[in-house]
Structures are given as C-alpha cells and as structure tokens.
C-alpha cells in the first residue's frame, strides 16, 4: 500500500515553475488526502488562554502559600 502511494506521488511531475504550494497540492492529490488550506484557528483560543492565566495565578498562589 505504501509502495503504491509512493509510486503515485512520484508519478506526479510538477511543472518547472511550480511553487512549493503546487508541489504540495500535487502530492496531496496523489495521496488522495483532504487539502487543508491553513491550520484552523480555534474559535475559542482566547478563552483557553484566559483559562490558562487563571490556572497560573492559582498555581503561583499555592506555591507561595506552601
């Protein structure tokens, strides 16, 4: 299976002027993998960050109390 996939990807011959992205697309298509434009940003990333800040405040207070 892996050998078959490698063969498929190697059979993709990008144009001479291909960009890195073109190569990536060609490779992904050869592997039949879903294309992901960019890393998805979590819709609640800021809430995770605020929660981490609260955790840090607690941890510091506990350390100081010890």
């Amino acid at each position: 299976m892996l050998g078959e996939m490698e063969q498929q990807s190697l059979s993709v011959s990008p144009e001479p002027q291909s960009t890195v992205d073109d190569l990536r697309v060609a490779t992904l298509e050869a592997y039949r993998l879903p294309r992901q434009e960019t890393a998805p940003e979590l819709p609640v990333a800021d809430l995770y960050a605020l929660g981490a800040k609260v955790d840090a405040l607690r941890a510091r207070a506990i350390d100081e109390a010890a």
Binding site: L42, P43, V44, D46, L47, Y48, L50, G51, K53, V54, D55, L57, R58, R60, A61, I62, E64, A65, A66
Partner: protein, 132 residues
C-alpha cells in the same frame, strides 16, 4: 453544593493541596458572582472556572424564612469546537452570538478582577480570602 462541587472537581486532578485550590476557587467564585451586578436579597450568584476548561454560573435564591426558592447551575465547557453549555447537566448546546460574546466578556472581567482583588494582594491576604 459549592463545597461538594469544588471538592469533586479538585479531587479528580490535584492530589495536594486539595483544600487550598478549592478555597481559592471558592474565593474567586464570590468575586466572579459580583460581575453580574447587584443581587436581590436572598439571591446568591457564583461564577468560576474549575481546574479543567469549564466555567460555571450558579444562582440560588431563598426567601426571608430561608426556604430555598430555586437553584440552577450553568456549565460552559470550552472545547476546541466551541463552548458547550448545559443547565443542571442537561440541555447541551453550543452557544453562539451574543451569549458567547457575553461569556467572553465575563471571563475577561473575571480574570482581571481575581488578579486585582485576590492574587495581587499580599500572600497573607490571599490566604485569608481563600479560607474565609
């Protein structure tokens, strides 16, 4: 209610010192409850974060004789997909729009207020507040 909720939440992760973390959360929840404005006599509000990624809004009311009128707890669980809300452990739904904006504002205010009113105080004051 709160003590059991805190101790249950804390017991799951932090081996020691359990009481201190629970006490800090308890102190924070009082500050958090004030973010939503004045309450009527007999109404108690708490708002706090557990040691995972969940936030809780709790409200209870008693009449003049001390008889319990109502109590409810809303849990907001922060997940990679969004914020999952449940009321008293039921009715799970991802929140959006104004409700999500309000929660976001509340969490920002909470972080600012607990820092100023609890954690930026002298350690002895923090300790007193946590064990009040």
């Amino acid at each position: 209610m709160f003590r059991s909720l805190f101790s249950k939440a804390v017991r799951a992760v932090v081996p020691t010192p359990k009481t201190t973390l629970a006490s800090l959360i308890d102190a924070e929840s009082v500050i958090g409850g004030k973010l939503f404005g004045e309450t009527r006599r007999g109404v108690e509000r708490r708002f706090f974060k557990d040691e995972h990624h969940s936030w809780y809004y709790h409200e209870s009311a008693t009449d003049v004789s001390g008889q319990k009128l109502y109590t409810f707890t809303i849990r907001y669980e922060i997940l990679p997909e969004g914020v999952l809300k449940s009321v008293d452990g039921k009715h799970h739904v991802f929140i959006t729009g104004i409700e999500l904006d309000h929660l976001r504002q509340a969490i920002k205010l909470y972080t600012t207020h607990i820092q100023a009113e609890l954690y930026e105080q002298k350690p002895s004051t923090v300790s007193r507040a946590a064990h009040a």
